[in-house]
Every structure is written in C-alpha cells, then in structure tokens.
Symmetry: C2
Subunit: 397 residues, 2 copies
Amino acid sequence: MTDFAATKALFSLPEGMIYLDGNSLGPMPRSAAERVRKTVEDEWGEMLITGWNKAGWMQQPTAIGDRIARLIGAEPGHVVMGDTLSIKVYQAVAAALELNPTRKVVLSDSGNFPSDLYMVEGLIKSLGPDYALRVVAPEEVSAHITEDVAVLMLTEVDYRTGRKHDMRALTEQAHAAGVLTVWDLAHSAGALPVDLAGCKADFAVGCTYKYLNSGPGGPAFIYVAPRHADTSRPALSGWLGHAAPFDFDLSYKPGSGIERMRVGTPPILQLAALEASMDIWDMADMADVRAKSIALCDLFITEVEARCPDLTLASPRDGRQRGSQVSFHFAQGYAAMQALIARGVVGDFRAPDIMRFGFTPLYIDEADVRAAVDILEDVMTNALWDRPEYHMRNAVT
Amino acid sequence: MTDFAATKALFSLPEGMIYLDGNSLGPMPRSAAERVRKTVEDEWGEMLITGWNKAGWMQQPTAIGDRIARLIGAEPGHVVMGDTLSIKVYQAVAAALELNPTRKVVLSDSGNFPSDLYMVEGLIKSLGPDYALRVVAPEEVSAHITEDVAVLMLTEVDYRTGRKHDMRALTEQAHAAGVLTVWDLAHSAGALPVDLAGCKADFAVGCTYKYLNSGPGGPAFIYVAPRHADTSRPALSGWLGHAAPFDFDLSYKPGSGIERMRVGTPPILQLAALEASMDIWDMADMADVRAKSIALCDLFITEVEARCPDLTLASPRDGRQRGSQVSFHFAQGYAAMQALIARGVVGDFRAPDIMRFGFTPLYIDEADVRAAVDILEDVMTNALWDRPEYHMRNAVT
C-alpha cells in the first residue's frame, strides 16, 4: 500500500499554498535540490568530460526510461528519455506513417493538445500533398477509424476537461482496421495506470514535468512497441540514435530498439531533477494512486457542486472516464482563478471558460481538498468580479 | 581589453587538472552552482507554475539568444535557444530547402560532424526520392557549389582537425550560384569571431556546452537571417513557435521571426546554467579571445613539435585557418591520451589516430600550455604503450 503521507513529506510545498496545478508543472521533490547540486558541482564541476562515463550521464535516458516504463505498463527497455514532447510526437507519427505506407491519413481529435496537431501539420506538409491530418470531435473518433487511416494519434486524457479515451478499445478497433496508434500520455503518466503492453499500443509519448515532477522543461519520453522497435525508421536520425555513435561514421545506421529514438545530447541537469522525482515514484503503486485520485476528485466535485452552484462540471462525472483533474465551466473563470490563486489555491484557467484543478495523491490529500473548497466558496460568495470597482482596479494595474 | 585573469577566476577547475577539452564540454562557471540552485529552489520550488511569468522562464530562450547573437555577429532578435543541435540542423535545412524549391540537393562535406549528415539523411528520406545529400571532401566544397544545389550545409570548424572553412567566401559563392547556406557553429561560437550578418549567412545553428560552457546537455541555438525569418516554414511546428501559443488554436500559425523556430517547453535548468556562463561571456571581446587563442595554439604547436617528434600536426599551421583547437596524428593516440588524462592533462581522442586539444582563453593561459607540454613530453618519452607489460596490464583491467 502506498504511504501517501510519506510521499507528501518528500515534496517541497510552499507554506500556505494548496497546489492543484501539478497537471501543468509538478512541485519540487525536496531531494531534487541536492540531486541537481550534485550533478552540477560534483559531476560537471569535478568530472567534466569524464562525467559522460563516470557519472553514467550517457545511460540516463534509458535508465530513467525503464523506471517510467513501470508506471505506463511498458516492457522494460522500450522507453527512452529526451527532447520535448512535441519532438517525440513528430518521431512517433513519422515512424508510424512509414510502417503503414499504403495509407496517408493521420486521425486525431479536437481534444488533443494543439502542439500534437501542429507537429503533425508540419510533418505532413514535409511529406507532401498525399498526406492529410483529419481532426474530429473526441466522441466521433471511433466512427472515423476507417480503412484509409494510417495512424490514430490521440492524447489519452483531454488537457482541458480530463475526459479519458478508452485506450484498450480504440487500439483494438484501430488494429482491426489496419491502423497504427500513437498515444500521448502527457496527462496519463503518473496520473493513472497505463497498460501500453496490454493494450498493444504501437507508440506512446509523454512529458515529465507534469505528474512526474521533473521541473520546468524536463525531458519527454517515447515508447515503441517491441514488435516495431527494430523496424521503425527514425525521421530525426541523430548521432545518439546511431548504432555506434562514437565511430563517427558518415552514414546513419540506426541503433537497436528504442536507442534509435535518441537524437542529440541528453539534458543532464533536467534528468537529474527527474531522477530525484523517480525515487518518490518508485514508492508508489499506480493502482493506489488511481484510487486516491478518484476519491479526491469525487470529493471535490461533490463539495463544489453543493457549495458553488455557479460552477458547472466540465469533466466526466464517472471517475473511470476521467484523468486526475477536475474542470468546471464558469464565464468569469479567469477572474475567479486569479482570485483563488491570490488566496493560495493554485489551479489554472483554459480558454474560453475552464477552471482546471489537478489532484495528485503523492502530495495532495483530503484536507487539502476541503480547504481548497472552503476558499473557493468564499471567493465565489464574495465575487469581486461582479463589482465595478474590481474592473476599475484591474484597469489601472 | 578582456581581462582573462578575471575570467579564469570565475571558472571552477579541479586542482591539478589542465583542461584542454573545453571544445567538447566546457567547465563549470563558479556562479552556475548558485544560479541553478536559485532556479531549482527559489523559482521552481517557491513559484511553481507562476515561474513561467514571474521568473521570466518563458523569455529565457530569446533573452539568452540575444546574448549569444553578439558573439556570432547575428542581428539582435534573430537567435533563439532550444532543443539539441541535431534538431536545430533539421529545422534549418528543412526550412532552407523549402526556400529554394526548384532544387533538391544538400551539399556538405566529410569533415562535417556526422550527426549533421545523419539528420539530413533522415530529412531527405522523408521528403522523397527527388532529394539527395551530396558529401564531398572539405577542400572540394567550393568546386561542388553548382546550380543544382539547394542548400550548402557546413560546420565552419572541423571537429577533428580544427580546419576552418572560409564562411564569407563560401557564402558569397553559394549565393552567386543561387544556393542557401546553413552554418553549424558548434566549434565556432565562443571559439572565434563569427560575422553571420556580415557574411550574409542564411541559417546558423550551434550548441552551448562546448565553448559556451552551459554544462552537459545544454540547449542549442538557431539563427535565421532577418530576410528569411518571416518566410521560413518551421517543419517542426511546435506550440511555442505558434503566433499565440496560449490561444490553443487547433491550427498552426507561425510566430513572427525567430520565435517560430521554438518548438516545445524550454529546458529551464539548463538555461539557468547557460545564463551563468553568459555573465562571463559578457566580459569578453571575441577579437581578444581569438588573438589569445591563436597565440596559445601556436605556442602549443611549436613546443610539441620541438619536444614530441612522434606527433604529426593534423591541424592547419596557419592560425587564421584554424578554430580554437590543435590536433595531432599519432598511431598510439588513444593510449597516449589515456596516459595524459591520468596525469591531469585532459584532451580527447578521435578515431582513427587524432589527439585533440582545445584552447579556451577564458580559463586556459600560457602557463597551462607549457605545463601541459611538459607532461606530454614526459608521457611520450616514457611511452608505456611500447612495452609489453602495458598491454598485459590493460588486458586485465
């Protein structure tokens, strides 16, 4: 059983703040400060170039990838860290399209994070006019998995509403229609159990600075199913994905398996911070995290609906169909969120009218949820944005 | 006049080490430890998500880009940080090819860093069979700038020998033939004065962990000439290159100028380390750096040739045709370099037989060069690799 009191004590959370935005940027693990200091001063400062071997820098992308693999149900040795999520989306979709060469359509949905759609736009423009990106409403995805689709690219959990796709069912349907899948786990990894191997997902990508608490700009990860690992061509064929990077051959020869999805020099300071967070994640069972996440989200929904009637639930009511966040519609949501943040309850706002709250069991508990609703109720009751002087004050600051 | 005694005092250099490998990984600026600590503990730890605005994280890629612009002769506002050098090569070549759409050939040379060639291999494979990468010997580049070439992609300074291309002459010749240029400044930025604007370079890219001392895995930079900045299509069209990233539009619209070459979330911890290094670089005049670099390299060549006759110069003898490193051929170079490193003189080895030494005036002075040659002479005189017991010892360790 995961000891959430113990994990909470391992995070640095500012006094007086209830942080419900770990779905955007996770807080700092207390040990991250020392872990990064060690990498900067003892490794870079003392070992200099020899750190690549002596400190194990060169192996960090696969070593940490293996620890993330456990959280997302990936086979060991099939996840590697690097770059940003957008770059990893590009790699995955480019590889998937080539594995399905007779088809030219990438199917996605309007609930996907825009950068995923932008990266595919950029890719298909380079590939030529035969290729197309087809974007449908989230609830229409299943109906659009047709035999002309090459790749289904979805973010499992909608960044605005927390609505969760059924990865298993959609992957199965995709495969039956000859479609390969690319799953973006930005709001899944560390948020809920993912079973990539069991669902037979083809590719998956994700970031680490949200639920995985790696800090601002932490590296992304990519998963390639073992059956595709040695046949996927890396469109971004960088030297660290080469079979023998230090032979400095003039021609590219892809490394074996997931290694070929490495591109350039890995960001060692960011990986150090991530490693500190993984020490906490190693203490967690994703089933426990999921159970507590649903309980916290359910409590928040119940309390808010009882006490803040102006807010309308934007997330699925059924916890099984949700990620680890709860969103509410509210026309004055931007102003309300600013007022909440000023009172120490940190969520965020997404246009046009969504107030978003992330629930992260590693460091958020039931007392935090109750305290947050107390403040939210107070903010809503004393709604400054309904008063003219509020707008006057904001006009001059 | 740059005060090199002052800059040297600002670096952390391990006691007893003469570090001649700053062309591979620069040493730690003393202030980097505190600067990174501040970003981790005071910014990430205390500000959490609000750090993106409050701590100025979101502006770091262009703010630091402007400081690097001065060192490479770029117009202010036309350099941005992010990703790795390999990714930036891909962006630059992809954009340049589209600006020259009637031609399909990328010309490069066998002295280029292999990853640059690999990335273009990957790109042209995606673009289709009409495209080709043509790799010629460095001294034959000029003769191959023909009217079927779309893009000339070169690394200005050869990573093995330090041989320097004439950027001004080759760019002028390229333009006369209707060819666009992509310059990789990996061994130029911080090594010698670069005049991108004056040479009318079209695109340039580079890394920061070598001469710019940003630490392991520090971010890369990209420059796009002002005349191309608003017409270059970003093949890697990520959300932070969008005209309005936080509008979360479903379709990509490129940002203005260099902003469109941003892709994903910037690596804030790595940028903090780079910022500490830029505080030192702000004290340096590149003309002074160049003069001292040539003097140090010349001294090293003179002394080594006088005292270590088994080593054969691999770098150009004329300092104007060299970067900021000196390389020697030696058949037992790998063993000799290992012996040197064991004695505290850190250079590196590149296959098949190159011993490489970087000279970085910000923290290496004449006394270091003389001390390094003393040790090199001693290592060569007592050449262990000529004795059978050396190979026996190495066979069992």
